[in-house]
C-alpha cells in the first residue's frame, strides 16, 4: 500500500486537480444560475489548493513514476506553478466580462480547469503518449471554449478553423511519432528515444522524416509561420476571455513541449530540426511584425504580435543548448505575463454591450485614466523589448543564446525585425497619450480586476528590473532536467 502511494505521490498536483475539478463539475449542477459566482470561487480555490500541493510536496532531483511516463523536476514544478497563477489571473479578469455577456456558465470554469490539467500533464510528460494526451486534453477544452458563444458567427467560424487545423496538426504529430517509433525499434519514452537515436546504425533517414512531421505538428500548436493561419482568426473571432485564455498559459505548456520533445527526446537529431526552426523563426518574426502594422483591431494586432514572439521563442530553442532552452522558457513566461496584461486591459475597457477591440478605443486613454494608460505603456514597451522591462531581458537572453550557438546573421535579422515591431507597439502609446479620446465613458471594472491588472503591469516592470531570480531558476531547472 505504501509503495503504491509513493508511486502516485510525485503526480499529486495533477491527481488533486483532477479530483477537485470533478467536484466542481458536480457541485456546479446544484448551483442556481443567479449564484454562478460560487463556481468562480470554487474554481479559484481549486487552483489555490493545487498550487499549495505543488509547493508543499517534498522535492529533490527529478523523480520518475508511472513507468517513466511522468517526471517531477524543477522545470516542471516552476512551469506548473506559473501556469496555475496565470489561469487564476485569467479567471479573475474574465468573470465580470463573462457575466455581462451571459457566458458565465459552470462549463467556462470546468473546461478551463480541465485545460489546465492538460497543461500540467504536458509539462510533466516524459513519454510520447503522455505528451500527446496532455496536448489533446489542453486543445479539446480550447476548441470548446472558443465555440462556447454559439450565437456568434465569428466565434463559431474561429472554433471550426481551430478545430480542423488542430486535428490536422495532431495527425501530423502522431504520424511523426510513429516514424520515430519505427526508427528507434519501438521506443516512446523520451530518454529511451534519445538513447536509441544516438546509437550507431540507427535509420537516420526515417528518423529525420519523422522529426519533420513532429516539428510541423508542434509548430501548428504554437502558431509559428507557416503554420500560423489559425492564430489571427481565433484571437479575433473568439470572445476576449477565451482569447485571454488561449493566448497566455498554453504558450508556457507549448514551449515546455518543445523543450521536452526536441531538447530531450530528439536531441540527437538537433542538426535536422535546427534548420527547420531557423526558417520558421525568421518567417514568424518577419510576417508577425510586418502584418501587425496593418491591423486596426487590437486583438488581431496582438495575434500577429504573438506569432512574432513565438518566432523569438524558437530562436532560443534552435540554439539547442541548455542556455537556449532556459531562455526560451523564460521568454514564454515573460510573454504570458505581458499577454495577460494586454488582454486584461481590453477586458477592462470593455463593458456591457461594448467591446474595446479597436485601436481607436485606446485613444486618449491617458485622459480617462492616467494609471491604466501607464500600465498599458509598460506592457507595450515590454512587448517591444525596451528596457527596463521583462520583454527586454527575454529578448536579450534568446538573442544571446542564438549568438553563442553561432547564428550571428539570425540575431541581426531578429534585431532588425524587432525594430519593425516596435513601431506598432509605440503607436498604441502614441494613441493613448497624444490623441483625443473617442470613447468618453469612465473606466469602471471591479476592484479585484483593477488591482490585479495593476500588479500584473508592475510585475512586467519588476521582472525587468530584477530579472536574475527567474532567469537563474530556469537555468538551474534546465540543467537539472536535461543532464
Amino acid at each position: 500500500m505504501t509503495s503504491y502511494l509513493s508511486l502516485l505521490a510525485p503526480a499529486a498536483p495533477e491527481i488533486v486537480l483532477l479530483a477537485l475539478v470533478s467536484i466542481v463539475l458536480v457541485a456546479d449542477l446544484f448551483i442556481d444560475d443567479s449564484r454562478r459566482m460560487t463556481t468562480y470561487f470554487l474554481s479559484q480555490l481549486t487552483l489555490l489548493i493545487t498550487l499549495l500541493v505543488l509547493v508543499a510536496a517534498p522535492h529533490g532531483g527529478p523523480v520518475y513514476t508511472f513507468h517513466n511516463m511522468y517526471v517531477d523536476d524543477t522545470l516542471g514544478r516552476a512551469l506548473k506553478g506559473l501556469v496555475l497563477v496565470a489561469v487564476s489571473l485569467v479567471f479573475a479578469y474574465s468573470k465580470t466580462y463573462a457575466e455581462q455577456r451571459d457566458m458565465l456558465k459552470g462549463e467556462l470554469f470546468t473546461l478551463m480547469l480541465f485545460s489546465t490539467l492538460g497543461m500540467m500533464v504536458l509539462i510533466s510528460a516524459n513519454h510520447f503518449l503522455t505528451l500527446y494526451l496532455g496536448l489533446e486534453l489542453l486543445a479539446l477544452c480550447q476548441y470548446a471554449l472558443v465555440a462556447m458563444q454559439r450565437d456568434s458567427a465569428r466565434a463559431s467560424e474561429a472554433a471550426m478553423k481551430y478545430f480542423v487545423l488542430g486535428a490536422l496538426a495532431s495527425g501530423l504529430l502522431l504520424y511523426g511519432m510513429s516514424m520515430i517509433y519505427g526508427a528507434t525499434g519501438g521506443q516512446l519514452g523520451l530518454q529511451a528515444v534519445a538513447q536509441a537515436l544516438a546509437a550507431p546504425g540507427v535509420d537516420h533517414g526515417l528518423a529525420a522524416v519523422g522529426t519533420v512531421f513532429i516539428v510541423a505538428g508542434l509548430a501548428f500548436k504554437l502558431g509559428v509561420v507557416p503554420f500560423h493561419m489559425w492564430i489571427p482568426d481565433v484571437y479575433e473571432g473568439a470572445p476576449t476571455v477565451m482569447t485571454l485564455f488561449v493566448g497566455t498559459a498554453p504558450k508556457i505548456a507549448g514551449v515546455a513541449f518543445f523543450v521536452r520533445m526536441l531538447g530531450e527526446g530528439l536531441a540527437p537529431l538537433s542538426h535536422d530540426w535546427q534548420q527547420m526552426l531557423v526558417i520558421m523563426a525568421v518567417l514568424s518574426m518577419a510576417l508577425g511584425n510586418i502584418t501587425a502594422i496593418a491591423q486596426t483591431n487590437i486583438k488581431r494586432m496582438l495575434a500577429y504580435s504573438t506569432i512574432s514572439h513565438m518566432g523569438f521563442v524558437l530562436l532560443g530553442i534552435l540554439a539547442a543548448s541548455q542556455q537556449g532552452y532556459a531562455a526560451a522558457t523564460y521568454y514564454s513566461v515573460a510573454y504570458t505575463l505581458m499577454g495577460l496584461a494586454a488582454f486584461g486591459m481590453i477586458l477592462l475597457l470593455s463593458r456591457a454591450g461594448f467591446e474595446a477591440e479597436n485601436l481607436d478605443d485606446f485613444k486618449g486613454l491617458n485622459r480617462r485614466s492616467p494609471w491604466f494608460a501607464f500600465v498599458m505603456l509598460l506592457v507595450m514597451i515590454s512587448m517591444a523589448g525596451i528596457p527596463p522591462s521583462v520583454g527586454f531581458f527575454a529578448k536579450l537572453s534568446v538573442l544571446r543564446a542564438a549568438l553563442d550557438a553561432g547564428f550571428t546573421w539570425l540575431v541581426v535579422v531578429a534585431v532588425l525585425l524587432s525594430l519593425v515591431g516596435a513601431f506598432y507597439y509605440l503607436r498604441v502609446i502614441k494613441l493613448m497619450y497624444m490623441d483625443e479620446p473617442v470613447d468618453q465613458a469612465p473606466i469602471e471594472g471591479d476592484l479585484d480586476l483593477r488591482v490585479l491588472l495593476s500588479l500584473n503591469g508592475l510585475a512586467v516592470l519588476l521582472f525587468g528590473v530584477l530579472p536574475q531570480p527567474l532567469l537563474a531558476l530556469f537555468d538551474h531547472a534546465i540543467v537539472q532536467s536535461l543532464r
Binding site: 513507468h67 511516463m69 462549463e107 473546461l111 503518449l129 503522455t130 494526451l133 486534453l137 533517414g205
Partner: protein, 203 residues
C-alpha cells in the same frame, strides 16, 4: 511460392487501400461511409493475421457496430450539397497537389533503399492458451495506467464540451413534462361554460 498468410495479407491490404480511396472519391456521402465500414473490416482482418483477435473483434463491434451506424445516421440526416462542397476544387487543386507531391516525396525517402517487400520471420507464435484480453488488460492497468486514465479524462472533457455546446433551452420550444401531465386535474383542462338558454328550445 507465396504462402497463404502473405496472400491473405495482400488481399486485405489491397481491399483496405481500395476502400480508403473509395471513401474520398465516392460522390455519395452514404457510399463514402459504407466504404469506411469496408476499410474497418479489412483492418480488422489484418489484425486477425497478427493474432490480435480481441482488438480485431472490438474494432468491428465498436467502430462498425456503433460508431459507423451513428455516422450513417448523421450523414443521412444532414442534407449535404456535394456540388457546393466541390466548388473551388480546381482553385485549390494546385496547392493540394503540391502538398501531396511533397508527402509522396518524403514517403519515397523513407521507403527507397529499404527492402520493404521482404517478409520477415513474423512474430514468434503465441502460446496456445495465451489470452489476448488478459494481456491487453495487464498492460493497460500496469504499464499504461497513466495514459489510460488520461484518455478517460479526455473522454470526460468530450462529454462536458458536447453538452455545453449543444444543450440550451430555446424560447418557444415545445416539450412534454410527464410529471405535470400525470398530476393534471380536470379543472386544468375543462372549462365549464354556462350558456344561457335563449328561449328558442321549444321550436
Amino acid at each position: 511460392m507465396i504462402d497463404f498468410q502473405v496472400l491473405v495479407f495482400y488481399s486485405f491490404a489491397l481491399l483496405l487501400v481500395g476502400a480508403g480511396i473509395g471513401v474520398i472519391v465516392a460522390r455519395n456521402p452514404v457510399h463514402a461511409a459504407l466504404f469506411l465500414v469496408l476499410a474497418f473490416f479489412s483492418g480488422a482482418g489484418l489484425w486477425m493475421l497478427l493474432e490480435a483477435e480481441f482488438l480485431a473483434i472490438s474494432l468491428v463491434l465498436v467502430y462498425v457496430g456503433a460508431v459507423m451506424v451513428l455516422f450513417l445516421f448523421v450523414v443521412m440526416m444532414l442534407d449535404i450539397n456535394l456540388d457546393q462542397l466541390r466548388e473551388g476544387f480546381w482553385k485549390y487543386f494546385p496547392i493540394g497537389a503540391l502538398v501531396a507531391l511533397l508527402m509522396v516525396g518524403e514517403l519515397w525517402m523513407v521507403v527507397s533503399g529499404r527492402d520493404v517487400m521482404r517478409t520477415g520471420q513474423g512474430l514468434p507464435p503465441a502460446a496456445a492458451d495465451a489470452s489476448n484480453t488478459r494481456e491487453i488488460g495487464l498492460q493497460l492497468y500496469t504499464t499504461y495506467l497513466y495514459p489510460f486514465e488520461l484518455a478517460a479524462v479526455v473522454l470526460l472533457v468530450a462529454i462536458v464540451a458536447a453538452i455545453a455546446l449543444t444543450l440550451r433551452r430555446r424560447k418557444g420550444t415545445k416539450y412534454q413534462n410527464p410529471a405535470e401531465q400525470v398530476r393534471v386535474k380536470r379543472a386544468d383542462r375543462v372549462r365549464m361554460v354556462s350558456i344561457p338558454a335563449t328561449g328558442k328550445t321549444g321550436e
